[in-house]
């Protein structure tokens, strides 16, 4: 009798131990690959994006509406990010370089900072130069914290400041169609640039 109670207790403990990680973090770990894992999870959506105003890498005002009629690839990064952001920017850069000459005027790339405290227009410009970004169809955006917060919210990007120049954020890359509707999002450290290009081309045609 005592032995069967002990056995029941053991199985109950085993059940709790197995269930705990599932209950606490399964959803988030399934959504985004962990650091060091290649790729990103992809999701299709249909969400109209309302206009917003920010500041570009030259300190000029930028309006999202001004890009209507173009397919837009947005990524949310910050320049002093020591892990996923350089990979996200590199994927977008590969897609930009792979565009054909006649496709280029119809596609625009946006980098929206998640750290306005550090990422001034000057810092963003240096970041673009370091990566060798072609700025003819790419803008890097910053702005007031409140203006950026509303943009992050629209795209579902969660941002948490940990220290100066160290920010935890959703590693999101998004594609918006010519009508200003959010169509595809990727969450992860390195979205496949060929997949990005395929989605861009599908929205161009």
């Amino acid at each position: 009798m005592r032995k069967s109670n002990r056995l029941r207790g053991f199985f109950l403990a085993l059940f709790i131990v197995l269930l705990l990680p599932v209950a606490s973090g399964f959803e988030s770990s399934a959504q985004a690959p962990r650091l060091g894992e290649k790729g990103a999870s992809r999701r299709e959506l249909h969400l109209p994006i309302s206009d917003f105003s920010l500041t570009d890498q030259l300190g000029r005002p930028f309006r999202f509406q001004s890009l209507k009629g173009r397919v837009i690839l947005l990524s949310f990064v910050y320049t002093s990010c020591p892990d996923v952001c350089p990979l996200i920017t590199a994927s977008a850069l590969s897609a930009q370089r792979a565009l054909r000459a006649w496709e280029k005027p119809s596609v625009f790339f946006l980098t929206v900072t998640t750290d306005p405290e550090v990422d001034t227009p000057l810092v963003l410009r240096a970041y673009a130069n370091r990566f060798g970004v072609d700025l003819s169809n790419w803008s890097l955006l910053t702005g007031e914290n409140s203006a950026l917060a509303s943009v992050w919210k629209v795209f579902g990007v969660k941002v948490k400041r940990k220290a100066r120049g160290l920010v935890e954020h959703t590693p999101l890359t998004a594609i918006v169609d010519r009508q200003g509707i959010l169509r595809v999002v990727y969450i992860g450290s390195s979205p496949d640039s060929r997949r990005l290009l395929r989605d861009i081309r599908a929205l161009l045609s």
Binding site: T79, S80, P86, A90, A126, R130, G165, S189
Partner: protein, 143 residues
């Protein structure tokens, strides 16, 4: 309070301050560098394999650079490496230079380093010539 007590107390304070600086350097390296450069600076961090270019092993590459060049890479970034200048304080940048130097030590001439390390660490934002009165030894000269 006699002289000996004062000296002991001052030494203890200096020792504790040095320890805390060392801990801050370790934390800074863990937060900002480990993901690419790896725990020992060998270019084998968790995301190194995903980068399009190989991450250098400090033991092989840092010996070819002087403190000014290392500092410049940390402050202004290099290729995909972030620029930490706008984000970190001068003291933190200095700590980063120090961490890189420590991890690259294996590739250097040990006896030369044992002699000059404390001086170099104390002035690691300054050029060799300024600190020592002459350039780095032949083995450490820029190749």
């Amino acid at each position: 309070m006699n002289f000996r007590t004062i000296v002991c107390a001052a030494s203890l304070i200096f020792f504790l301050a040095a320890c805390s600086r060392g801990e801050q350097t370790k934390a800074l390296y863990a937060q900002r560098c480990v993901s690419c450069h790896g725990v020992l600076g060998r270019g084998d961090g968790p995301i190194a394999a995903l980068l399009p270019a190989a991450v250098p092993d400090f033991r092989l590459t840092v010996e070819r650079k002087n403190v000014v060049e290392i500092r410049k890479a940390i402050v202004a970034g290099k290729g995909m490496m972030p620029a930490f200048g706008p984000a970190l304080s001068q003291v933190e940048i200095q700590d980063m230079v120090r961490a890189v130097r420590l991890l690259s030590r294996e590739g250097r001439r040990a006896e030369w380093w044992e002699k000059f390390e404390p001086i170099v660490y104390a002035h690691c934002s300054l050029p060799w010539e300024y600190v020592l009165g002459y350039g780095p030894p032949d083995g450490d000269a820029k190749k």
